[in-house]
């Protein structure tokens, strides 16, 4: 598989996703044995982050370093983006310094696609607005497969603020393509119109989704994207949609508990649930590095 950009889960067939997952498995296993091949000694990677990030930015940086690529960090506040330069202009300037790959996170949906259309560097989407977060979806799929051995036929419940979640959108696309059945659960005001046509089922009953799912993906309320009054209160949200130990009792014995982070403990899930033995939240973070190594490796191949 040769890849120029990594923009969207949608761009991959089921076969390609399975190949990617296999590549991630190999890289993770080699990395664990301290045998990481120095696959990208001549590559340079710029990380253009217009939105805050902990996990994604650090894991891309670690992934690049383990593959011996050069990395440079550009954050919105410390760059000319804060002086009114457009993101496309900033990216063009970075490219002018012969950077091979640009990892971009932006609050506006579609920015990675626009950059890909205009630049010859490889563009990697690290999250665009509420639209897509394909490396997160990939690491979620990898983690599910690692824990349960398959994705096909699984029931995956995504609980929380679906409307503002790029993770939910990318996961719905990826997981349904892999043959899982995705059910979203959240307040009616935070579920996008047409979710059924996007391939997911919808329920307002968190107890149902907890009881029937093989995998539970929790999402936080994205207050920074909510200018409107979508909810009466965080208190009511936590009471009606939050999952604590009582609700979790109805879950399957081997349920896999996931969260892309950051978690708001006490809101979408309690500390007991986040720290439950069945929680793989930190495994997701660990896997994030191998996932990004795999993506960088594939794109570097295209650059050569």
């Amino acid at each position: 598989m040769e890849l120029k950009h990594f923009i969207d889960t949608q761009d991959f067939s089921k076969k390609e996703l399975l190949d990617l997952i296999e590549l991630i498995r190999m890289i993770k296993s080699a990395d664990k044995q301290g045998a990481t091949p120095r696959l990208l000694p001549d590559a340079s990677l710029a990380m253009l982050f217009e939105e805050p990030s902990t996990r994604t930015r650090i894991s891309f940086e670690l992934a690049a370093k383990r593959l011996s690529a050069d990395t440079l960090n550009i954050s919105a506040s410390a760059s000319s983006l804060s002086k009114g330069e457009s993101v496309l202009d900033t990216a063009r300037n970075i490219e002018a310094m012969n950077v091979d790959m640009i990892v971009v996170r932006h609050k506006s949906a579609g920015v990675p696609k626009i950059l890909a259309d205009h630049l010859s560097s490889s563009i990697i989407n690290a999250g665009d607005g509420c639209r897509a977060h394909p490396t997160q979806a990939l690491l979620d799929m990898f983690t599910i497969r690692e824990k349960l051995g398959r994705i096909e036929g699984l029931k995956v419940g995504i609980i929380g603020d679906i409307l503002h979640s790029r993770v939910a959108r990318s996961n719905i696309v990826g997981l349904t393509k892999m043959g899982a059945q995705v059910t979203v659960c959240g307040p009616s005001t935070l579920i996008p119109i047409g979710i059924e046509q996007m391939g997911a089922r919808k329920t307002y009953c968190v107890d149902d989704v907890v009881a029937e799912s093989d995998v539970l993906i929790f999402l936080r309320l994205q207050r920074e994207r909510q200018e409107e009054q979508f909810l009466p209160s965080i208190r009511e949200y936590a009471q009606v949609f939050g999952v604590g130990p009582e609700r979790l009792k109805k879950a399957k014995k081997n349920v896999v508990i996931m969260h892309p982070g950051p978690t708001n403990r006490g809101v979408e899930l309690t500390a007991e649930v986040a720290d439950d033995p069945r929680s793989v939240i930190l495994d997701q973070v660990t896997n994030g590095v191998a996932v990004r190594m795999a993506v960088l490796y594939l794109l570097a191949g295209a650059q050569r």
Binding site: P187, S188, T189, Y204, E228, Q229, F230, L231, P232, S233, R235, E236, Q239, V240
Partner: protein, 425 residues
């Protein structure tokens, strides 16, 4: 406790029974309806010559408690309501503090149970503090006992909040009711904007204030595919909008109040502050349109908008008097006299407007009909009796009625709520 009503001519929304029957009530339920029923040790009520209707259900009234107990309390309000034949009351949340959290809902229900005269269903606020900024905790309101929410007293003026509230309420399973009046258009208006207001030199409240909210809410409800109930509709044009919406399948229901089909803005000419009401009294054209809309089903039900105020409150002169009419004790008489006797509705049609439709709209499954298994909420009425509306006969604390001196037909003789006689003349 049991009760046997003998010789009852039962009137349900689907018609009046030709022959009289007996109704046996066990506890709070109608156990049996039939000929020549008898039971040992029951209290017997003879309804000969009278008609027996389901207890009236008022989707819109003000009981003023908590906070304005000088105007009305749950106890005095319920007393006035059952005298008027009402056994189920949806009281509005513009109390002080407003009914915008579960504890206040529970408090109102608890006090109503203590009073024990009528079923009281508190209508919660849509927005916290009724300020159109943040939704109330709707799941909490429902768990506390609310069936419906309204920011009554004013419309939800934030259209985006209304859209989101409709979507959220639809999920929770609560009905939203709207007081259709755009506060910015109405401004400081005190009566209907029109010739009469101009002649009287009064600040007018333009009718479009009502119709823009009616139109907006119809569009929002249609978009969200949720239900909306429009309170106290007063205008011909509102009826036209609702009629059109219903023909399109929009899930809208609406109500009218007796003062809006019996009085016009000309009643304000005597400067009686008891003719000051929100929405204001309109024109003769509107009065006819409201009746026609009740007749053709555009308007689903009759509510009172019982809004008691003290004499002192209403003595500030027309401009400064508060809006509202004390309506429980005149509603049935006004309906019989001005809807049934004028052949706008049959008596069964009136039972639909005052019993069956409100029960359907509010989701009260065992109310609004007299049948075996239904709740024993009944009213025994004399539809022929003529009486005069007199201030000294009012039991509500609110003596603010524009109908004093009116001669009406249709008198409530006895009211039975939950199998218990709660009013008798």
């Amino acid at each position: 406790m049991s009760l046997l009503i003998k010789n009852a001519v039962i009137v349900n929304a689907d018609g009046e029974k030709k022959a009289s029957q007996d109704i046996l009530i066990k506890g709070s339920t109608i156990e049996k309806i039939g000929k020549d029923l008898s039971a040992d040790g029951v209290k017997v009520v003879d309804a000969s010559g009278k008609k027996v209707l389901p207890g009236f259900i008022d989707l819109h009234c003000h009981l003023r408690e908590p906070g304005q107990e000088h105007k009305e309390t749950i106890e005095t309000g319920c007393r006035a309501a059952v005298k008027g034949g009402f056994t189920s009351l949806f009281c509005m949340p513009n109390t002080r503090p407003p009914i915008d959290n579960g504890m206040i809902v529970e408090g109102v229900i608890k006090e109503a149970r203590r009073v024990g005269l009528a079923n009281v269903y508190p209508v919660g606020a849509i927005s916290k503090g009724q300020n159109s900024q943040e939704m109330v905790d709707m799941y909490e309101m429902k768990a506390a006992g609310c069936l419906a929410l309204s920011d009554d007293g004013k419309a939800v003026n934030n259209s985006q909040l209304m859209l989101l509230a409709l979507r959220y309420a639809d999920m929770v399973g609560l009905l939203l009711m709207e007081h259709c009046q755009d506060p910015l258009i109405s401004g400081k208006g005190v009566m209907n904007e029109g010739l009469t207001a101009s002649v009287l030199g009064m600040r007018g409240d333009p009718g479009v204030s009502e119709t823009v909210i009616v139109g907006r809410d119809i569009e929002l409800a249609n978009y969200v595919q949720a239900r909306i109930h429009l309170s106290h509709i007063s205008l011909k044009r509102s009826c036209e909008l609702i009629r059109f919406a219903k023909s399109q399948g929009v899930r809208v229901t609406a109500e009218a109040c007796p003062h809006h089909f019996t009085l016009t803005d000309e009643a304000v000419k005597g400067f009686d502050p008891n003719t000051k009401v929100n929405p204001p009294l309109r024109t003769a054209d509107d009065v006819e349109a409201i009746k026609a809309a009740l007749a053709d089903g555009t308007l689903d039900c009759v509510s009172t908008d019982h809004a008691p105020h003290t004499l002192e409150d209403k003595e500030e002169g027309f401009d400064h008097a508060p809006f509202g009419i004390s309506g429980f004790e005149t509603a049935f008489g006004l309906c019989v006299t001005h809807l049934v006797r004028t052949k706008v509705l049959t008596l069964a049609g009136l039972v639909d407007k005052m019993c069956q439709s409100p029960a359907r709209i509010a989701g009260l499954k065992n109310k609004g009909r007299i049948e075996e298994g239904a709740d024993a909420d009944l009213v025994i009425v004399d539809t022929e009796a003529e009486w005069e509306v007199r201030k000294e006969d009012f039991v509500s604390k609110g003596k603010n009625s524009p109908f004093f001196g009116w001669k009406l037909h249709g008198l409530v003789e006895k009211t039975i709520c939950g199998g218990k006689v709660v009013f008798e003349r």
